[in-house]
Structure formats: C-alpha cells, structure tokens
C-alpha cells in the first residue's frame, strides 16, 4: 500500500468501516510511514472536533422552546382560521344562498307592491286620478302579473357573482296570500345556473314556503304577528296608505302608448317606495287611461355601490278568479328541506329591533352605524376583519366552532339564520318604518350604551308623539317637543 491509497482509507478507518484485511494492510503501512501517521492524527483530531461540537450542539435544547412556539402560534392560527372560516361561511351563506336571493327577490316584490300602493290615490293633473286607481286595485280580490328582474355587478366587492336574471309570475289574493313562480338564471363561479322556485306567502298560516323543484328541496318559514300585521296594514289600511301618498314625491311624466293601450306615466325617485333598502331609485308607473288600472311598472335601483338592478312588472291581470287549492303548497315526498323544522322569520317589532341593537353592540362593541338591511349585514360580516373582537364575538365564534362541526350541512344554514335573526329583525323593522313614512331617525354613529339619555333611534307613532329608543336601549314615548329637546342635546 502506498501513501495515496492509505490516505483514501483513513476516514473509513476512524469511522470503523474497514474490513479486517483492509485494516491489516493499512496498519502495516502506518507502522512504517510517519507522514501517514501524522495524517491519521489530523483526521482523528478533526473527527474528535466534529463529535465534540456535535454533542455540544445536540445538548443545546431547542425542543421545549420550539414546541412552545408551535403550540402558541398554532392556537393563534387556529383561532384565526376558525374565525375566517366561520365568518366566511356566514358571508358566503348570506350572499350566495338561494334562500337569501329569494328573500331579497321577495323583499323587492313586496316593496314594489307597497310602492304600487304608495302611488295610488294621488291626483294627477292629466285626468287620471290615482285615488281612483287605488280604489280599483283595492277592489280586486285577486290579481296576477309578471315580473322581470336583472342584476349587474356584485353583491359584495370582491365577491364573484355574475349577472342574475329572474322572471316570475305572481298571483296575489286578498284571501289566501301570494304565490310566485320564479325562474332564475345566474352565474355562480363562472358557471351558469338555473333555478326554478315556487314561493307561497300564506298569511292565514303565517307561513312562507319555498320549493326548489330542480334541487328537490324546500324551506318553510314562520312569521309572527308583527310581520303579519304589517303585511295586512300595508295592503289594507287606507289611513296608512293615505299618509304614504301625501308624503310621496312624484311627477306626472305624461302620456304614452304600451301595447296599443294609451297610458299615463308617473315617476318617483323617492327611496321609500322600495322600502328604503335601495339607492338611486327610479320607478315609473304606467296606468291605463281608460281602465285606470296599472299596466306596467319599471324600476331602476342600486342594491349597493356595486350592484344595479332593473326590473319590470307587466302583463297585469286584475280581477282574476282563484280557488283555495292554488294556495296549497304541494311538496313531493322525495323532496328534502334545507332548514329542518322550519325557520322563524325575524320579527318586525320594536322588541325585535332592540334585541337586534343589543346583539350588534355586543358583537361589534358599538351600535351599527346604519341600520338598513344591507349595511347591517356588511357591518356584521366585517367582524371578520376586526383586530380586537369583543368577548361576545369570540364567544360566538367559540359556539360556532363547537357546534358547527357537529351539525350536518342543512343544520348549519339554519343555525346561521337563527344567529342572524336579531339583525334581520332590526333591518326589517327599520324598513317598515321607512316604508310607512314614520320619520325614523337613527344615531348609532355617535350614541353609545353609556349615553342613557341620548336618542339612539326614534320614529313617529302619532301626530304629536314619537317612540324613542335611548342609548341604554330603554324605550319611551315622548311628545314632539320633548323629542326636539332631546335631539337638540344630541347635536351639541
């Protein structure tokens, strides 16, 4: 063995990898070669150094510190993902759910009907008396019309939702309620989707049915006296209508011809005619000059800054004959329900509104800035981005986390609807106040729970009286003078 060969084997030698004969040959060479002996010393010294350094470093214990950090960061991350997931679920549910779309559609329909009444009864300069129109419409025990709606833009910034088109046939009966057949075309995640829905609003049963024929699914919802009372009042109480009419701002836009029928048009940009829910409202009502019945209603409005809607109510058939069977929902046996056990609709009452205010305050740490439905939803959804969530928000998340995982998909939807109910009640109550022109005012931007004597919300209850909800959520009826005093204090 020469020196070069020997050097090749030194590392393997100190590492103990040489077999017997190799070891022997190497030992033989080493005995006689001082250079290789020195070389071996060097290799051994380096090996010792490596082993020693390795041992020192291995004794430096990172384990506890790393594990602590892992666990700490994991719990932070977990909370964050839970938060994101849940709220995201909530947002997705609110914005994408067929129920909500139908509910929005239904709200629009109801608002349009309210708008229809809002018009009627006003004296026009051109011969058609809207009062006469009202009278005739009220006489109709049942009527039908068709509706076309089209949306453009997104419900929420950054939310992918394409245009939605909806055509429906609506049958309304004073005796039985409303029946609506809806065909929806929408784009969800870039793919076209068709939906067929049958919706019944049955005041006698205090129930709403929604049947999705293509999905073979259905929903039942119950509403309470407060909603029913308002529904009745909106369509039947002439005194309320009169008040609406007096307050409505409209212009007579003159004559035109629709399908060979001579009509007269009235235009309003009063947001109240769509329940105060929408922005940039323009509604045109065309009335048959001869029969004095509505022929067409055109609507343009914005749901919010990103989403525009236009719609048309047409093909009105007044005085149609209906029978009770038409208002009996038929749900085939193989259909399943999205919300098992039904769902209770939010209540449009003062108590519901107070509960909603309390709920929002606990959840976000302050009263909502605005209480129209859209804005409320956005404020609640915004909890997701909150850097310092309140105890209630954390608890809600915990509750959701605990319960949601166990629940089947349908139950989740219901749970979320239930959680959101107080918020919806508040929005609904506000909507009816706007619709009924009860001079609602809301000061959530500045008033806090500590402001026990400041007006948080108020609305008119009679000629000289207002109902006031104070910062501490106590409600009181006050005179107009007293209210003026209270609100003057607010301005300071």
């Amino acid at each position: 063995m020469n020196c070069a060969e020997s050097k090749e084997l030194l590392v393997a030698y100190v590492e103990g990898f040489l077999d017997g004969s190799q070891k022997l040959t190497l030992a033989e060479h080493l005995k006689s070669c001082r250079v290789c002996q020195a070389e071996l010393k060097e290799v051994q010294r380096l090996q010792e150094r490596l082993v020693k350094n390795g041992e020192t470093l291995a004794h430096r214990d990172l384990e506890d510190e790393v594990m602590n950090q892992v666990i700490r960061r994991q719990s932070v991350q977990l909370k964050k993902t839970v938060k994101e997931n849940r709220i995201f679920e909530l947002r997705r549910f609110i914005m994408k759910s067929p129920i909500v779309k139908v509910a929005v559609a239904a709200a629009v329909v109801l608002a349009c009907l309210a708008g229809l009444y809002l018009w009627t009864g006003t004296k026009s300069g051109a011969g058609v008396l809207l009062a006469d129109v009202l009278e005739k419409v009220e006489q109709a025990q049942a009527f039908m019309y068709k509706m076309k709606m089209k949306t453009t833009g997104n419900m929420q910034p950054g939310m992918p939702s394409g245009p939605m088109e909806m055509t429906s046939t609506v049958l309304i009966s004073n005796e039985y309620g409303m029946k609506m057949e809806v065909d929806m075309n929408m784009v969800v995640n870039g793919a076209g989707q068709k939906m067929k829905q049958l919706m019944y609003v049955l005041p006698n049963e205090k129930k709403v049915y929604m049947i999705m024929t293509e999905q073979k699914q259905y929903i039942t919802m119950e509403f309470d006296e407060s909603v029913l009372a308002r529904m009745k009042k909106q369509s039947n109480d002439p005194r309320d209508l009169l008040r609406q009419i007096i307050n409505s701002k409209y212009v007579d836009i003159g004559k035109s011809v629709i399908d060979g029928v001579e009509v007269e048009g009235f235009e309003t940009t009063d947001p109240a005619c769509l329940g105060g829910m929408m922005k940039d409202v323009k509604v045109i009502l065309w009335v048959d000059r001869k029969t004095e019945l509505p022929v067409r209603e055109e609507m343009y409005f914005k749901m919010n800054e990103q989403m525009q809607m236009e719609g048309e109510l047409y093909d009105f058939q007044w005085y149609v004959q209906v029978n009770a069977d038409e208002f009996k929902p038929v749900i085939p046996q193989d259909y399943t329900t999205i919300l098992p056990g039904g769902y209770k609709m939010p209540s449009a009452s003062e108590e519901g509104a107070i509960e909603g205010l309390r709920f929002c305050e606990q959840l976000t740490g302050r009263y909502p800035k605005k209480i129209d439905m859209m804005n409320l939803m956005n404020e609640i959804v915004a909890i997701k981005d909150s850097n310092n969530p309140t105890a209630a928000a954390l608890k809600l998340k915990e509750d959701l986390k605990g319960e949601m995982d166990k629940l089947p998909e349908e139950e989740k939807a219901k749970k979320i609807m239930e959680i959101m109910r107080p918020v919806q009640s508040l929005g609904l109550f506000h909507m009816t106040l706007v619709q009924e022109k009860k001079e609602p005012a809301y000061y959530g931007e500045t008033v806090t729970p500590a402001d026990t004597d400041k007006v948080l919300m108020r609305w008119k209850t009679s000629d000289n009286e207002y109902r006031v909800i104070f910062g501490d959520l106590r409600a009181e009826t006050v005179t107009a003078e007293k209210l003026a005093e209270l609100e003057a204090g607010l301005l300071k």
């Binding site: 090749e8 030194l10 590392v11 393997a12 590492e15 990898f17 060097e42 290799v43 380096l46 090996q47 150094r49 490596l50 082993v51 020693k52 350094n53 390795g54 041992e55 020192t56 470093l57 291995a58 430096r60 214990d61 990172l62 384990e63 510190e65 790393v66 594990m67 950090q69 892992v70 666990i71 960061r73 994991q74 991350q77």
Partner: protein, 179 residues
C-alpha cells in the same frame, strides 16, 4: 430512519403537533451547526434554528416528499439565515449611526465557530453528510439509507469532506495569522 421522518411528518399533519418534538430532537444539532456556520453567532443561530423549526412545522403541508424532511428543513434554515443576516446588517447600520464612536460588543461565537463555518462552506452534498453524521448522530449506513446511496459513496464523500474541512480550517488559521 427514512420511514421514521415520514412517520412523524404524517403524524404532525394528522393533527398531533406534539410528535414534532421527535423531529426537533433528531435534527436540532445538525440545524444549529448548519446555522452557526452561516451566522457565526451562537444566539442568532439558536434563534434562527427555532424559527426554522417552527416554520417547518407550519409549512409541513407543503413538504412534497416527507422522507426528505431534513433537507427541506435545511432549505428553510437557509432562508431564515438570510433574513437574519439582512436584519443584522440593518441593525448594525442603525447602531453605527446611533453610536459610531462606540465599538459594538463582540457577539458571542459558538464553541467551535471555525469548524462550523468550514462546514457551512462545504458543497451541499458533502455538508449534508457531515451534518447528519456528527450533528444528527446518524451512522453511515443510516445516511446511506436516508440519501439513497451506496455505503461506499457515503464513506468516500465523507472522506473528501474531511479533506475539504481540513483545508478550509488551515486557510482560516493562515488568515488569522496574517491579521
């Protein structure tokens, strides 16, 4: 050995965070040596090693080959080391501006910085083997298994790594005398 890493990686991914400690135990020495050579400061190396391990844990889902956990970990450590160096430079610049007359205290070097920096300078294939052998306490046959190479190649590579380390250490000594 290979399967063991994979096993713990999968355990972690299956929601058993506590099993990560076995991987920490197994590779902390190698990781420290790797980082100490790059950073030259005991405390920064320790800090960076912790950070690397924590990051590895939270990015485990992205590890495509669980059996090569260690090399993936070294990649993360390189990244962390770069960040540390950048932060250190910024800190030093700031410090220099604040008190340019004062000498900054010498950072505490690790026990054998010369050796660690020599390891850091080794080509990757050689470095891996040295780290596994002396800092993760793998036997040569374990390394061969881990790296999927014949045992002979491992010993040859190790032998060459020795030569390179000696050369590098000698150069460092020479430089020290020059100064």
């Amino acid at each position: 050995m290979q399967e063991m890493d994979q096993y713990y990686v999968e355990r972690c991914l299956d929601g058993h965070p506590d099993d990560f400690r076995y991987l920490v135990r197994r590779y902390q020495g190698a990781l420290l040596a790797h980082l100490a050579g790059k950073l030259g400061n005991k405390d920064s190396a320790e800090e960076a090693a912790q950070e690397s391990l924590v990051r590895a844990y939270f990015n485990m889902g992205r590890l495509k080959k669980p059996e090569s956990f260690f090399f993936w970990l070294l990649g993360i450590a390189d990244h962390v080391a770069k960040e540390h160096q950048r932060n250190k430079r910024i800190r030093q610049q700031r410090e220099a501006i604040r008190s340019f007359s004062q000498e900054a205290g010498e950072p505490e070097l690790s026990q054998d910085y010369a050796l660690e920096s020599a390891i850091a300078k080794l080509p990757e294939d050689y470095r891996k083997i040295v780290l596994l052998r002396y800092y993760a306490n793998h036997s040569c046959s374990q390394i061969a298994e881990n790296l999927v190479m014949p045992l002979g190649t491992v010993t040859k590579t190790l032998s060459r790594a020795y030569a390179m380390l000696r050369e590098s250490l000698q150069q460092q000594r020479a430089k020290a005398y020059e100064v």
